[in-house]
């Protein structure tokens, strides 16, 4: 899409631009707006090269801090382009080009090979490929037999830079992308959680439906409550009775014999015959542990244990 946009060559002596297409334009800067350097560096990635770019231009530029850098890998070297964004912005505005109208910014050096003939810059200067480097020369030094060419959209390189919207945007691109990434990340987390909850929910509903189909009498919540209340009371009471029987059965050991036992809905009572006092004491301790009431039967070592349910 970007490559189909009109490509305007930007040079110092250019006239003001009267009309810009509604979908914006791409611009190509002449060397009047940038400084280049080619270096053979042992780096693999553009971001690594970009990191060392300022140090390469230390001696060439006065205000390194105000410059930005564009880096392109060439066959055997890296092409470094330093440009002053503010200066370019000011120039474009002077020439009637609003930054919002500019899609991409390119550098003539990027397509040096396409400059097979001079490209005229107004009446006095021309853009020429001089030993592989795009240079601005006075037209007077050009070979009169050489026919000048005009640039068109076919000169649009693959990579370019984007200038932020003329200071009218509230967010810088980096901030915007960081914020958007955080929001999208959270959105993904929420969607994943929701689908997990949804899956569980659906599985529960399905399981419930299967159970209700198998137990149609439980479909009414009133019936369910009534059945639940009825059986819960029975379950609690009967479990307690069985627990008491189980605990008392553990009190039958060597020297301790069960002589009588009674359990009903409200209480229980058991009597144990003990061989001697020590057995009786042990039995009493065991019963105390279970919080049962104990009493000694007169005239002997028998122990009576009782409690309520």
């Amino acid at each position: 899409m970007e490559n189909t946009k009109e490509l305007i060559l930007i040079y110092k002596d250019m006239n003001s631009v009267s009309s810009i297409p509604a979908n914006g334009v791409n611009i190509m800067l002449t060397p009047q707006f940038y400084t280049i350097k080619r270096e053979e560096l042992p780096v693999k990635y553009a971001y690594q090269a970009k990191r060392i770019a300022p140090s390469l231009f230390d001696a060439l530029l006065e205000d390194v801090q105000n410059h930005k850098y564009f880096v392109v890998k060439e066959e055997n070297s890296w092409l470094f382009i330093a440009y002053d964004v503010e200066k370019i912005k000011t120039f474009l505005e002077q020439k009637g080009i609003e930054l919002a109208q500019v899609s991409k910014v390119y550098f003539a050096e990027q397509v040096a090979d396409l400059f097979t003939a001079p490209v005229l810059l107004g009446e006095k200067e021309a853009l020429v490929n001089l030993n592989g480097t795009i240079t601005v020369l006075p037209q007077i030094v050009l070979n009169p037999d050489e026919k000048p060419i005009r640039i068109n959209t076919s000169f649009t390189p693959k990579k370019g830079v984007t200038f932020e919207g003329g200071g009218k945007s509230f967010l810088a691109t980096t901030e915007a992308y960081t914020l958007a990434s955080v929001f999208v990340l959270f959105a993904i987390i929420y969607f994943v959680e929701a689908s997990r909850y949804g899956g569980e929910n659906e599985a529960q509903v399905q399981e419930m439906q299967v159970l209700l189909e198998n137990y149609p009498s439980l479909q009414s919540s009133y019936a369910r409550k009534s059945i639940s209340d009825k059986y819960r009371i029975i379950d609690k009471k009967e479990r307690k009775k069985r627990d008491v029987i189980k605990v008392l059965s553990h009190m039958i050991f060597k020297g301790s014999t069960l002589t009588s036992f009674l359990i009903d809905d409200k209480k229980f009572q058991a009597q144990f015959a003990c061989k001697d006092k020590s057995v009786a004491k042990k039995l009493q301790e065991l019963a105390k542990k279970e919080k049962f009431n104990t009493s000694k039967v007169p005239n002997g070592n028998d122990i009576q244990i009782e409690g309520t349910l």
């Binding site: 914006g24 999208v184 929420y190 369910r224 009775k241 009674l262 359990i263």
Partner: protein, 132 residues
């Protein structure tokens, strides 16, 4: 188009924020839907009722109760079953027989109304009343 491009960054953040809000609302919707199910009749509650019904409303319990009569010699058993109520006496039981009877009673899902054990000499006498 150019106006949109001018506020491209804001637009990106806005769309991402909108996506986040949609995701949040969607999640809340799903979660509240789930709590509606829990509030009404939770699956856990239903399972519990079914489990209780299976134990205490067992339709085969009458047959299981009848088996109690057969675990000791018939001469030692006095059996009286009316509708869903049982009164049984087990006489002259040895220690092992007493254990067997008590374990069987404990494993029956019936309401024990009365369980009485008495030692008479070397044997035991058991009286059991229950309903289901």
């Amino acid at each position: 188009m150019i106006q949109l491009k001018r506020y491209k960054n804001e637009l990106i953040v806005g769309i991402a924020l909108l996506l986040l809000l949609i995701a949040l609302i969607y999640k809340q919707g799903v979660v509240s839907g789930q709590s509606d199910v829990s509030a009404g009749t939770s699956l856990q509650e239903l399972k519990e009722v079914i489990a209780l019904k299976k134990v205490w409303g067992d339709k085969k319990i009458t047959k299981k109760v009848d088996k109690l009569k057969t675990i000791v010699s018939p001469s030692k058993v006095k059996w009286s079953k009316k509708s869903k109520k049982l009164t049984a006496s087990f006489l002259n039981l040895s220690n092992q027989e007493l254990n067997r009877v008590i374990i069987k009673i404990m494993n029956l899902a019936v309401e024990i109304q009365k369980l009485e054990v008495k030692k008479l000499g070397a044997s035991y006498h058991v009286e059991f009343k229950c309903k289901w």
